[in-house]
């Protein structure tokens, strides 16, 4: 399934690239793109793992930029 998450306060383009890199390493993630301009992240992963993946993704994102707020 595909999930789009809004990333508020995403202010640094290089961080977006780092987030994308980090989230793509979470197991189960088939594809992820972080768009700095649209301030959103699109994850493609199996439905049953999605909830877990989102939790881990939040951790990865906060490690890169602590001020980012994830909104489903």
């Amino acid at each position: 399934m595909k999930k789009v998450v809004k990333l508020e306060n995403l202010d640094c383009a290089n961080c977006a690239a780092k987030m994308e890199d980090g989230v793509s390493k979470i197991s189960g993630v088939e594809k992820v793109t972080v768009s700095f301009l649209m301030q959103k992240m699109t994850i493609i992963a199996p439905e049953e793992q999605m909830e877990d993946i989102l939790k881990q993704a939040e951790k990865v994102i906060h490690k890169v930029e602590p001020d980012v707020v994830l909104k489903l």
Binding site: A13, S35, F36, M38
Partner: protein, 616 residues
Amino acid sequence: MNKHKKNLIRIIISAAIFLLAILLPLPNIVTLLLYIAAYLIIGYDVLWNAFRNVIRGHVLDENFLMSIATIGAFAIAKYDESIFVMLFYQVGELFQSYAVAQSRKSITALMDIRPDYANVIKDGEVKVVDPEEVMPGDRILIKPGEKIPLDGKIVVGQTSINTSALTGESLPRESLVGDEVISGCINLNGTIEVEVTKEFEESTVSKILELVESASDRKAKSEAFITKFAKYYTPSVVIFAALLAVIPPIFVPGALFSDWLYRALIFLVVSCPCALVISIPLGFFGGIGGASKKGILIKGSNYLESLSKVTAIAFDKTGTLTKGNFVVHDIVTNSVTKENLLEVAALAESHSSHPIAASIRAAFGKELSMDRIREVQEIAGFGISAIVDGQQVYAGNAKLMAEQKIEIKQLSKVKPIGTTIHVAIDGNYAGYLEIRDEIKPTSKAAIKDLRNSGVNSLVMLTGDAKVVGEAIASELSLDHAYTELLPADKVEKFEEMLAKRGEKDQLAFVGDGINDAPVLARADVGIAMGGLGSDAAIEAADVVIMDDDPQKLATAIRIARKTIRIVKQNIIFALGVKGIILILGAIGLSNMWEAVFADVGVSVIAILNSIRALKD
């Protein structure tokens, strides 16, 4: 107070203190305190973020590198440079943030086609609901000035509709009962009742939004390159900086540690790949956004890249270069008047739903009295037999005439190049109607524009008869027409062309997306025309031209080339300046003022350059 204003005030205060410290003849210790104050005012957030990130195990981010560089400069008593670097960095960040906010705003404006509500009519009452709650079959009311929330058909009322948000076409579309309306367009002057035909998710507006939003997910080669480059650039520069600070003072006789440390700090200042990381995607986004403002949807940055390299285009004919609506072009008669022949043919064809029959009835244009005709028989692949005003009439192709043993007389020296409908009355050949598909008014100019922009091979692939296809190809001055192709032949012909193209050339196919999906899929760039209202076209193609104007092809190529040019300029400019500063810095010929320009200044210039892609 917004973030930008707050930062601006901070920059001004810090700069003022900085100037005081430089200009006033104060005791050394006071000057130093002023320097520290200026530094902390301008840099406290950078220092704090750096500290916080290091705690989280995240070194090598921008904040950290800036902190180390400026603290280092402070430590070797280069106070003014340290503060200037921080000041300039913040000015740059402010600019950057402003430019990004601005482009985000223009992108959202572009996306402003999403309808917020729908007025549903239920049991005679009008209720305002979310468009997602409306089901196909429901009736909705659309008042003047409102956005059309879902695709549907007008059942009551008439109006004109502004489609410009989707097509870039400013001329409103007149719509009557029975006409389809497309979500995302604006109802201008009449109140209409619409029967919804598609749920919101399936409606045009949702499809377009989805497409534009996810366009940046398909990355171009140059974008992928930058992402990879950014990953290795910072660590390499930092490692090099560390070596530069440590090794020469140990091994080079007489080398001063502070001198080499200064050189290393210059490296740290230019170690962020920000200029590229922001400006390249922004450029692509701008190109895609600018194109969609003109009614051209490009499904990904990669297609923008291919589009810029297109050197050959194969066109479908019907619906692409021609309107796909047939008109009676000529009437040639033997024994009766033209008006008479047309009337007889229109009567004979009055029951047929074939587009050719419709064109004959449209040409006649008057009411047809049904009691004048009897015994109508449609003979598939041949034509029609009927009794009109008591006379036996045959209307159809040459095969029909041959079957009825009616001799076709050569009535004109010019061989008809359209579809010919022969008419025989009471066993005698009466004449024929020549029916042609109309070439779109802009097709000729479109081909010319493409040639002028360097697309040098333009051919047509059509299922139509040789005479018809070749006549149109020569009128439009195409290089070649491949005619009488069955759908499978089209694919085969196109694959031959693909095999023959040069390594760097990209071959595009332009079709209406209805029955040429296999060819669209094989093309380097598949372009569908007339996407408005046709899901098939939107799905199948890489680039969708929303209205059916072939002149937009040259526009699309122009936008693509401009975008790629901007992206290349930015890559060369940013890498060039950084490279020069790194080299000069290593041999001691550059200073921090220049380094901070190479970092933030270049970033701002690259962003400003990228914003050009959005504006045409």
